[in-house]
């Protein structure tokens, strides 16, 4: 029994090491708050550890973990909206600030400036999306997940995922077009 627990712990450590950064990235992009993203990432793995027995391997571990992370984030906003939403808003930064981290690559200064402006515009558009649209958009364009994976992670049908994604992209396109 003790041996089985030890192997389980080792296995779980490997799962954490493999997926932690990706879960954190998704939560950071969703919440725009580093501390909150870290807390929710820890909660996600804690919940996963407690419920590991219920993971049947029908989807990948990443999809299962992402589903937990999405639910945690939803719960968090539901609770926060009732109590400390002002404080939560104060801690969150603009998603457009991510443009400051854009790798310069081999671009000229002008190209870098234009690229940062584009990233800011996308960030602004993403902030204006509904919670579900934002989740689908981030999973598709930041985590590069397949539609089927997004459907499993969000618990939506593929058709609904496509519809949300299409609306989200239309909003981003409109934001990019408006600033031309």
């Amino acid at each position: 029994m003790a041996m089985a627990e030890e192997i389980g712990a080792e296995e779980f450590s490997a799962v954490v090491a493999t997926h932690r950064q990706q879960i954190f990235r998704f939560l950071l992009a969703s919440t725009r708050d580093v501390d909150l993203a870290e807390t929710l990432t820890q909660d996600c793995f804690l919940k996963a550890h407690r419920n590991w027995a219920s993971f049947r391997g029908e989807s990948s571990a990443m999809t299962w973990l992402m589903r937990i992370a999405i639910n945690l984030q939803k719960d968090h906003w539901r609770n926060r909206r009732m109590q400390f939403w002002r404080h939560a808003r104060a801690n969150a930064v603009d998603l457009g600030e991510a443009s400051e981290w854009l790798p310069s690559g081999e671009r000229s200064a002008e190209q870098q400036l234009l690229a940062r402006e584009r990233v800011r515009q996308v960030g602004k558009a993403v902030e204006g999306l509904s919670e579900r649209q934002r989740t689908v958009f981030l999973l598709r364009y930041v985590e590069e997940a397949e539609l089927s994976e997004i459907a499993r992670a969000t618990g939506l049908s593929e058709g609904t995922v496509k519809a949300h994604l299409s609306r989200a992209v239309a909003k981003v396109r409109a934001e990019l077009g408006a600033r031309q």
């Binding site: 950064q21 954190f24 990235r25 950071l28 992009a29 580093v34 993203a37 600030e97 991510a98 443009s99 400051e100 981290w101 854009l102 790798p103 690229a115 584009r118 990233v119 515009q121 996308v122 960030g123 993403v126 364009y141 930041v142 590069e144 992209v169 981003v172 396109r173 990019l176 077009g177």
Partner: protein, 152 residues
Amino acid sequence: MNSKEKVGGVSGVSNIADEEDKLNKALGEFRLSVHAWSDAAYGRTRTAVVPNPRRVWWLAAGWALGCVLVAGGASAGVWEHHQHQQEMRIAAAHAVGQQRQATQVREQQVREEKADLLTREDLLAKVDKDVSREVPAAMEPLGQLMAEDETQ
């Protein structure tokens, strides 16, 4: 389809392709930015704040002192109020006692005056009676004569 329409159609398709290109480029750059931001935040050094035991002790002492002061202030106020109430009660009882005593004294005086008056009237009546009894009945006609002589 004339040549102008053809040109317009080609430029429309080219515009759409440009827009798609721009969108894809923007989405790619957004992805890169979020990844870089996340990597930086993920790898940042975290500072854990360890509570200083001395500071905790001072904090606890401060709280305890504050609680004692507040409790002391409150109980002093309550005691003061209670004391004041008691003094007021004593003063009121004293005043009532004095008033009662004064009334009693006045009543006593009235009673004594009444008793005094009665005593004087009784004494006079007794003297009259005694005087009337000192003269025997047989001497009464003499007594009347004496009175007549005196008037004469």
